[in-house]
Subunit: 96 residues, 2 copies
Amino acid sequence: MELLVTYDVSTTTPEGAQRLRRVAKLCEGYGLRVQKSVFEVVCTDADLVRLNDALHRIIDDTEDSIRIYRMNRGSFKAVEVLGAARRLPHDGALVL
Amino acid sequence: MELLVTYDVSTTTPEGAQRLRRVAKLCEGYGLRVQKSVFEVVCTDADLVRLNDALHRIIDDTEDSIRIYRMNRGSFKAVEVLGAARRLPHDGALVL
């Protein structure tokens, strides 16, 4: 399946900045970073459960916000990009 | 149609900060802000053409990045939310 993971992690505190790094690092193990806080992920249902669980353990539920959108197959290839944005090639599931 | 608009606008300069405000303001006329740089938009094909055109005129093509994903109908309702994220109700096309 194709997922779009977007997040806002509060960085007003050192702890928040660390959570941000940990969320980014985690997502890098699942997919491609296409913008600062946006990842395109191609993965299985089981991977999604693991990702969801791992994110839950990192974030502060009151301050941080994560959205995981299920995408149509092929939506990453069809994304409209403006400015410096580029479509990135996904070579199947990237989960490490 | 349902679109997800995500953007990174460079704010290292005052001009960049102004572009960021203008992109956000423009998107607010088309949809709901769900995270700092993520908007859920319900609109028509014609609206998308106008939005795309207006965004092009605001951004710096070398520094700023905008991605517009076409979503499945109902994907906003089905989004997985973690932490402080909330699903937002869309009452049909919001274009002002």
